[in-house]
């Protein structure tokens, strides 16, 4: 198939494209908290936490091929680690992030050992059990001294009436967040400033999760993961330690998934299985759906899937009112007395799986190459990248790189 333009990987044009894309993303990340209202910022926070969880899941499912429908439990570990450490022990929310990562990592590694003996649907069932049992564990009466039971945290025994930053108007409460004397957010009691504060926490977490995923995927471990996903036997023959690799990736994925849980606990100021849907199995299924729709096994897939999911559900939130449904499709949804966002996303999922099983990123890769094709570096090439060559394409189908 012909492309309009072909450029060399690592060339000037390739770098210009990369920098342009990076500038767009960075510009968007900065535009939201500086120009949007608190409502849109809050929506962006939802998207950021969802994409962090989906990226973490992508590591184990998209790249390693290990099905997990229980990642909501790891997010819950993050939320409850923050909740317990802040409201029960009065610790700073900041130190709960590494603590949550370590705890979830350990739990993830433990779960991975039995999981390493099984695969496919059986592994899915094991992780599903984890996702189902975790909320029950939180409400278990014998653990209520720690988790607050069904009522969650904070409760009457709590030192602080919040699981997040103690922002408030009274003396002794946090009103500003200063970095070496610099107050980037202003009065945190204002909804837009507070939302911007949470936004940057969520954004930094998302960036960290992305960078860790990227670092792992591009490393030797990442190649081992892909080898396991594609053919376990062949990977083992090639010297990949299956048990160790799976355990480490499962632990890392679990640890990363705990971080957005910390963000949620900080943001809403309380934790309970009823109050945070993401820590129930519904959350795990949502992570799975957004990852698959965006594109499993691609770094940007979960990012795009999560943004799209939040956007669609947000935009259709008012459709319980028939008049709010655009006239063109009102007959399709007027019968539903509830906002049909999840239903629309389910239809999108079915349609995309039909035409694009690799998700939106897969579609993008397929069709963008008809316009601009990035020619890979010649095998064995070393040294600085060759000068960019932008030529009108004469590339034929036979030269098309394998997908």
């Amino acid at each position: 198939m012909k492309s309009l333009v072909s450029i060399r990987e690592g060339g000037l044009a390739n770098w210009a494209l990369r920098l342009g894309a990076a500038a767009f993303v960075i510009g968007l990340v900065f535009w939201v908290p500086t120009s949007a209202g608190a409502g849109l910022i809050s929506t962006a926070i939802e998207a950021l936490t969802l994409m962090s969880a989906a990226m973490a899941l992508n590591l184990i499912l998209g790249y390693t091929g290990q099905i997990s429908i229980g990642h909501s439990a790891f997010l819950g570990i993050g939320a409850y680690t923050t909740g317990i450490m802040v409201s029960r022990w009065g610790l700073s929310p900041w130190i709960t992030f590494p603590a949550a990562f370590v705890i979830a990592f350990v739990v993830g590694v433990i779960v991975s050992f039995p999981a390493s003996r099984i695969k496919g649907v059986y592994l899915a069932l094991v992780t599903l059990a984890l996702g189902l049992v975790f909320p029950q564990l939180l409400t278990w009466k014998k653990l209520s001294w720690l988790t607050g039971g069904g009522a969650g945290l904070p409760n009457d025994d709590s030192q602080l009436q919040t699981t997040g930053f103690n922002i408030g108007r009274k003396s002794g409460q946090m009103q500003h967040f200063e970095i070496f004397g610099w107050d980037p957010f202003g009065d945190l009691r204002r909804p837009d400033n507070k939302a911007a504060f949470w936004y940057w926490i969520a954004a930094v977490v998302a960036v960290i999760v992305y960078l860790v995923c990227r670092g792992v995927v591009k490393s030797r471990v990442g190649r081992s993961m892909v080898a396991i996903r594609d053919n376990e036997t062949a990977a083992a023959v090639m010297g990949v330690n299956l048990v160790k690799t799976k355990a480490m990736v499962f632990g890392l994925s679990a640890g990363l998934c705990a971080l957005p849980g910390c963000v949620i606990a900080i943001k809403i100021g309380s934790v309970s299985p009823e109050g945070i849907a993401s820590l129930t199995v519904k959350g795990a299924i949502t992570f799975l759906i957004v990852m698959v729709i965006g594109g499993a096994g691609s770094l940007w897939g979960p990012v795009i899937g999560a943004a799209l999911y939040v956007f669609v559900t947000e935009k259709t939130g008012e459709w319980a009112n028939d008049d709010a449904i655009p006239a063109l499709i009102r007959p399709l949804f007027a019968w539903a007395k509830v906002p049909p966002g999840d239903g629309i996303f389910a239809i999108l999922l079915i349609l995309l799986m039909f035409v694009a099983p690799r998700g939106i990123v897969g579609v993008w890769n397929q069709y963008s190459s008809r316009i601009v094709r990035v020619l890979p570096r010649p095998a064995g090439a070393v040294g600085p990248a060759p000068m960019a060559v932008a030529v009108m394409s004469t590339v034929t189908d036979s030269e098309r790189e394998p997908e």
Binding site: G37, T162, G275, N321
Partner: protein, 468 residues
């Protein structure tokens, strides 16, 4: 063929996406009729009288001398809190409108709420001031509540009212109090809404769980003067836990022995067969039950099965008033016969109440707005909106006029007889001395006739002992 099929699928997906992204937002707003001024004067002027019977159905707001006054000096923007609200009062709320069983249970609350706001506009209850309500969906998920509230604040909402769910209200309480935005009539019975000192801008509407459980404990003591063995059955969440903790605290005082406790998860839709079997084995005199939504029905059916299997066991069943709707009890059939519960509102579907002017007017209005099918369960939303409007009327009549500060001052110095309240029910708050709006209840027993129709019978008088 494959290409065509794929193209069609892409077009369909694209159409859905475009439709989802198109902006066609509407809010419920109607213009007040020209008779508005008269209506306001009439309503405010009736403040001196107290309604003694439900036959006289005009909702009554009694202006209370402003004792408690909110401190706006610590507001983020004190000027905004004291700025006059002119033209339109924008009311925001967040309710579960999608997301499963919760949506089905709470959707009628939205209908009732919007219907009363329309009614208030039609009647011109606030004169030239128009009411506009926007209700966002949070799927009963507290993660989504702050975003929904922030969006409404961006849109210039003046007050919030009727937000459903304890975690959901807690998730926005700090923001609304810091910014001095009234958070009226939180639709939960959590004791947290009584913290006037720390959260003056947040008020609750429902009878506190502690009060309701105390009412049942007192009734059990009356039924079993020599002491009663009670088994607890409750949903394992914040609602159930607060409830049974309150009940346990009162047990010794009322000579109650707790012989067993069984729980059901909030998301569990299976019949609680094992739990009720365990309770039946203990043969308690009373089952005190705190289920949630559809669990009320399955609980009653399982108790009926257990009774049938143990003919010598005839426990009294006490059920929280969240289950006491004709919708739920009607669906339970004979299994609901004889249970005890409580209420402070009129049962609008009881034929015996059909002739009451307030009920007739309510049903007629709901019918006129096409919501007759949910009228039985929409009373909660109707009453919440009615309380909110009554607070606004009182604030409007204050020397400051309508401001956010005057609204919360009115809410905290408030006495009101709701149109659908039982005779003698008064909703009142008085600063820190009385932080809870509703603390009166009447215990009722539900009887199911042979044809399956059910009626409530009041057991004793309205209990007002818990009023501050």
């Amino acid at each position: 063929m494959k290409r065509t099929r794929g193209l069609a699928a892409v077009i369909a997906a694209g159409a859905l996406l475009v439709a989802a992204c198109s902006d066609d937002k509407t809010t419920d707003s109607t213009t007040a009729p020209s008779t508005a001024d008269t209506a306001v004067e009439t309503t405010v002027a009736t403040g001196e009288t107290t309604v003694e019977t439900v036959a006289d159905t005009t909702p009554v707001t009694e202006p209370v001398a402003a004792g408690w006054v909110v401190d706006t000096d610590i507001c983020v923007d004190a000027d905004a809190a004291n700025a006059p609200i002119e033209g339109t009062v924008k009311i925001g709320s967040v309710m579960p409108l999608s997301g499963g069983a919760a949506a089905a249970a709470f959707a009628p609350v939205k209908d009732g709420y919007e219907a009363y706001i329309k009614y208030a506009n039609d009647q011109g209850l606030l004169g030239d001031v128009k009411l506009e309500v926007t209700i966002e969906d949070d799927q009963y998920n507290a993660e989504l509540t702050p975003g929904a509230v922030a969006k409404q604040i961006d849109a210039g909402v003046n007050i919030f009212s009727g937000i459903i769910g304890s975690p959901n209200n807690l998730a926005v309480r700090d923001t609304l109090n810091d910014n001095c935005i009234p958070q009226l009539a939180a639709l939960t019975g959590s004791p947290a809404w009584g913290d006037v000192a720390d959260y003056p801008w947040t008020t609750g509407q429902l009878v506190p769980y502690s009060v309701e459980s105390a009412v049942y404990a007192a009734q059990i003591a009356e039924l079993y003067p020599d002491g009663a063995k009670v088994a607890l059955f409750h949903v394992n969440n914040e609602f159930g836990q607060y409830y049974v903790d309150s009940f346990k605290d009162l047990a010794d005082e009322y000579g109650i022995e707790i012989v067993g406790e069984e729980t059901v998860e909030a998301t569990d839709s299976n019949p609680p067969t094992a739990q009720i079997t365990n309770i039946a084995a203990l043969k308690p005199d009373v089952i005190m039950a705190v289920p949630l939504g559809a669990q009320c029905i399955s609980f009653l059916n399982e108790v009926a099965n257990a009774k049938a299997a143990n003919p010598d066991w005839t426990p009294a069943t006490f059920l929280t008033n969240t289950c006491a709707s004709s919708l739920i009890l009607g669906a339970s059939g004979q299994a609901a016969n004889g249970l005890y519960t409580s209420s402070n509102l009129i049962d609008v579907v009881d034929p015996a109440n059909a002739a009451l002017p307030s009920v007739a007017e309510y049903l007629a209005y709901m019918d006129s707005v096409g919501k007759a099918s949910v009228a039985a369960t929409a009373t909660a939303g109707w009453t919440t909106a009615e309380i909110t409007v009554a607070v606004l009327i009182q604030a409007q009549a204050s020397p400051e006029g309508l401001t956010r500060a005057s609204i919360i001052n009115a809410a905290r110095n408030f006495t009101f007889t709701p149109s659908l309240g039982l005779p003698g029910v008064e909703f009142k708050m008085n600063g820190e001395d009385d932080p809870f709006l509703a603390e009166s209840l009447v215990v009722r027993q539900y009887a199911v006739a042979a044809d399956g129709s059910g009626t409530f019978t009041d057991i004793g008088k309205l209990i007002t002992d818990f009023e501050s």
